[in-house]
Amino acid sequence: MNGNSALVILIAAIFTNNILLTNFLGMCSFIACSGQIGTSLGLGTAVTFVMTMTTMINFVIYHHVLVPLGLEHLTFIVFIAVIAAFVQFVEMFVERFSLKLYFALGIFLPLITVNCAILGASLFMVIREYTFTQTVGFGFGAGVGWAVAIVLMAGLRQKMRYSNVPKPFEGVAVAMIITGVLAMAFMGFAGMVSIQ
């Protein structure tokens, strides 16, 4: 449907159409895990990896299994099953072959199954009718964009500890306002490239 190259989509998914700041996906873990830069970096890496792989797998399954069989109404349940199975597989694989990586990423992996950004990326891939290369660019870009946003947020929240926040705004409320400012900053990228 759209002829953008994978590279354009990648850049757009990171900056202009950031999956977190413009599509609001993955907010739950964004708010919960953005306390420390180290933690959020780990989570961001895990999300990027899982998102790239699952959008690719889901692309193949959707276009080569579901559509030929006329089973599009099962899309949701198949996608979520693929994501859950993939995360489980990665967890076992990492545990077996790299304990160090397991302890770095391990605790985040189960969280990722219920991260709506992962499922959302797969659904966007279907709705926007990407080709396979575009899907790869989008999956990777969206993951990197999410990671960038959560690391930025963690940096800001570490500083926030020394600030004097009005009582009712403490905690999540002020985090929301900061995210709003962050989203405004990212709006500055709008017009650079655009995908829809």
Binding site: L21, T22, N23, F24, L25, G26, M27, C28, I31, A32, H73, L74, T75, F76, I77, F79, I80, A81, A84, V114, N115, C116, I118, L119, G120, L123, F124, I127, P166, K167, P168, F169, E170, G171, V172, A173, V174, A175, M176, I177, T179, G180, V181, A183, M184, M187
Partner: protein
Amino acid sequence: MKKSNAAACSACATKGPCGGKGLVTLKDGAWTVNPLAIQMLGICSALAVTSRLESSLVMGAALIFVCVGSNLFVSLLRKYTPHRIRMIAEVAIIATFVILFDQFLKAFYWDMSKQLGPYVGLIITNCIVMGRAEAFALQNPPLLSMVDGLANGLGYAGGLAIIGLIRELLGTGKIFGHAVLLEQWYTPNQLMILAPGAFFTLGVVIAVFNALRGPQDEEENK
């Protein structure tokens, strides 16, 4: 439909199939531990669909439907579900209800379905539904679980409606597409419809909730 359910619930609170806990459950879900403003669950869709009041209401209805349905079935099956596979069973039940709602929207409200885009499907990963199934429906009888689902759905839908109202009113000066704020003295602020407006509105709504609930609960919130 909402009214009859609420009536059935107050009836069961006195008669007792819910063990008299119906009303408390209802109040808990809808206000005291409001899933949106207090527990911070399901924020994704709360931000994405609330640029207009109409889509917020549809999303709220979707969540009530899915929450009640999945809670009922998770609760009915709770004695037969092996503990180890309960998560995947819950996800399968929830996904079934989401697919039902999605097909319904596609069949009868195509425009709305287009507008909500992927966010209907994302109800599957909405932590509220999963959270209630896991925390409540697994331990409680079916009827009470339905009430809990309804309460949380209502609490969530209420939050969505408030945010949707604020954003549509300030962003376009309209409610349900009818002009309310006159253009002579109010210039619509486009920012409220865009992403940052969503974050600001939710932040302020949460702060107002916190302020209304008073300081005594803030300790446990941290």
